[in-house]
């Protein structure tokens, strides 16, 4: 969690706004859901209305909008403000080691799952993922990294492919 409460409150304003927008979209979608017996499995329109599939989604979306507003109000009361300087602060954050490492990890995971999986054989894609991850984060010497990555990918493939007997992704 962000240690700095000031940053946290600024994030509350941004997230609260996103939450209100997304929840409004879902509220709108909930109202579009059917409420009549000709579409739903109901004996009459009254029964269809009382068991309409949109009731609970509409209720939860409305609650989320209220909570989003309360989140923003709470942050504003504590003195949080979004300024132009915040953009430059975000840029500075992207330059830190922590953020770079975070982005690298996201990139490795996304490339493995959305890029390799299903396109390359499972053992090969998992080996590349493990070796790249361990190599970038300097887990051991490159020989050890290759050995551990190979051993792990074969072991996982064997455990799931041969013991649990599922077709590998």
């Amino acid at each position: 969690m962000f240690e700095d409460k000031k940053i946290l409150r600024k994030a509350d304003i941004v997230f609260g706004t996103i939450l209100i927008l997304i929840s409004s979209f879902f509220l709108f979608q909930s109202f579009k859901m059917p409420r009549t017996a000709d579409i739903l499995r109901a004996q009459n329109n009254r029964e269809a209305l009382l068991t309409a599939p949109g009731i609970m989604p509409a209720l939860v979306s409305a609650i989320l909008i209220i909570l989003g507003i309360l989140l923003i109000v709470g942050a504003l009361k504590e003195g949080a403000k979004l300024t132009k300087e915040d953009l430059s602060k975000v840029k500075t954050w992207f330059g830190t080691v922590e953020s770079k490492n975070t982005m690298i990890m996201f990139a490795i995971i996304i490339i493995y799952i959305f890029g390799f999986l299903g396109r390359l054989p499972y053992i090969v894609s998992t080996f590349i993922f493990l070796a790249a991850f361990m190599f970038i984060f300097k887990a051991a010497s490159w020989k050890w990294v290759l050995f551990i990555a190979a051993l792990t990918s074969v072991a996982i493939a064997f455990a799931f492919g041969n013991i649990v007997m599922i077709p590998l992704p």
Partner: protein, 503 residues
């Protein structure tokens, strides 16, 4: 009568396959729990995929073994490297590590093992004592209004208690979880909600992959984002512990009883779980102690309170899980998902469909406690070496396991995408102070709340009165209202004014 059935179940489980499964899984659970970055929730979620094809008579003991082992395992790293392996052992590190530094690592490890075993046994005694009567009450008095309010109460209380920032964030996470559960075909009319013409969404968002993502990916990122460093492991010397541990446990019997009760109590509150149980037990022990100043500097009282509290919480969290289908903790939520996968539907109907299941679960816990005691002893010294493995080696392997674990259940690549998206979403939510437990609880309780609200409205012809006229419903309404209002400043002001007037 119940005791006889329990003994029958204990004896029934004494087959080599189940004992082997429990021994291996409890050991694996201890290792999972001890390794920082792997939690009980993750362990159960991953093993759900691995054991999916096993018969339920074997798969459920495996998952329970992981649960019990992992909650204890966290204390090993808490003592040896001052990093709790799971959140449940955070309070253990406060006293465990100073004790290890003082050269009492072996004693501390033995005390945590004994306390964990006693805690587990305490939890299972409460499970067998309270689950059958609660089940009976649920069977007779719980109808749609009660189930709807129970689900909402669970999310509200879980949100309030697990949020590290504001309680409102816990509620937002819970409501988001409910919204996620609405994706796919709904129960009453078979209508497809929020599918957006995507055939992969018709069946809904798979719960276990989402759970693996929310708990796994953020952990990998937060462990390695600061770079990869080895853990400094404290040496375990040759201490003479014979008699010493027994006298420490004997001196702390009140502490054990109090912490065990607290653990079970917290465990039975929906979604709250072991992390808070151990802190509450630790806090209470400190307040009741004659030597509170020793807490945080190497107090066995603190160590025992935390470890008894978190392990007794397991039995507590299974009480609402089996009787009401409401998980008492995050690992219990995955366990609930796993039970559904194996065709077991907890709740008031459980007694009809599987009349001895509560006893079977208690018997599994008995054997798991025995396995914990034996394998905890064997593994605590081995873990000194295991903990020397660099996180940069471990975390990528965890990542690969998250992928295959989420794929294995449905043999569907879409589930892996779900895991990834939830993982990324989970990371940012945790960074902004939103707890993952209510999100998961919301996702699992959403359908329960949804269908029961609509059934209530149908049976009352649109009136909301059943929520206020039925006694148990009314209790839930009051509890929900108080839980929400108590988090607002004006409520606190009213109470502080009242107290001032009384003074």
């Amino acid at each position: 009568m119940g005791i006889i059935i329990l003994f029958e179940e204990i004896i029934k489980l004494f087959s080599w396959q189940i004992i082997l499964a429990l021994s291996v899984s409890t050991s694996l659970g201890i290792i999972i729990g001890a390794l920082p970055g792997l939690t009980a929730t993750m362990g159960i979620a991953l093993l759900t995929g691995l054991t999916y094809k096993l018969p339920s008579s074997l798969a459920i003991p495996v998952l329970m073994g992981i649960y019990v082992g992992a909650i204890y395992g966290g204390s090993i790293s808490a003592v040896l490297i001052n990093i709790p392996g799971t959140g449940a052992s955070a309070a253990t590190a406060l006293d465990g590590f100073p004790l290890a530094q003082r050269g009492e690592a072996l004693t501390a490890l033995t005390v945590t093992r004994v306390a964990s075993m006693i805690g587990t046994v305490f939890g299972l005694i409460c499970l067998i004592s309270f689950a059958p009567p609660i089940s009976l009450i649920a069977e007779k008095s719980f109808a749609s209004p009660e189930f709807f309010l129970l689900a909402i109460f669970g999310i509200v209380i879980c949100g309030s208690l697990t949020s590290s920032d504001k309680p409102i964030k816990g509620w937002i996470a819970g409501m988001m979880g409910i919204m996620i559960s609405f994706v796919g075909i709904e129960e009453i009319h078979g209508y497809q909600r929020f599918v957006f013409n995507n055939p992969d969404l018709i069946g809904g968002i798979a719960f276990i992959p989402a759970m693996i993502g929310v708990f796994g990916i953020p952990q990998i990122i937060s462990t390695l984002r600061g770079g990869s460093a080895k853990f400094a492991v404290v040496k375990v010397g040759n201490e003479k512990i014979k008699g010493k541990v027994f006298s420490i446990i004997k001196q702390n019997w009140r502490n054990i009883l109090r912490s065990g009760l607290l653990g079970v109590g917290i465990g039975s509150v929906p979604g709250v779980g072991e992390d808070i149980a151990s802190w509450m037990a630790y806090d209470r022990a400190k307040k009741a102690s004659k030597k509170p100043e020793e807490f945080g500097k190497g107090s066995y009282e603190g160590l025992i309170a935390s470890e008894t509290g978190n392990n007794s919480c397991i039995g507590g969290s299974i009480i609402p899980l089996l009787t009401l289908a409401v998980p008492g903790s995050a690992p219990a939520a995955v366990l609930l998902g796993a039970l559904y996968l194996h065709g077991i539907r907890p709740g008031p109907m459980l007694n009809f469909e599987f009349p001895r299941f509560i006893y079977e679960m208690t018997a599994i816990l008995v054997w798991a406690a025995v396995a914990l005691f034996i394998f905890g002893l064997l593994l605590s010294t081995v873990m000194v070496k295991v903990l020397k493995v660099k996180p940069a080696i471990l975390m990528p392997i965890v990542g690969a396991l998250c992928v295959i674990g989420s794929y294995a259940i449905g043999v569907n690549r879409f589930d892996v995408y779900v895991m990834t998206i939830f993982g990324i979403l989970g990371y940012f939510l945790v960074e902004m102070g939103y707890p993952p437990a209510p999100l998961i609880l919301g996702a699992i309780l959403g359908p329960l709340a949804d269908s029961n609200l609509r059934r209530t409205l149908l049976s009352s012809d649109g009136s909301l009165m059943p929520f206020f006229t039925r006694p148990i419903s009314l209790i839930f309404v009051i509890l929900i209202t108080v839980s929400i209002l108590s988090q607002f400043p004006f409520w606190k002001k009213i109470w502080s004014r009242k107290k001032t007037v009384e003074v």
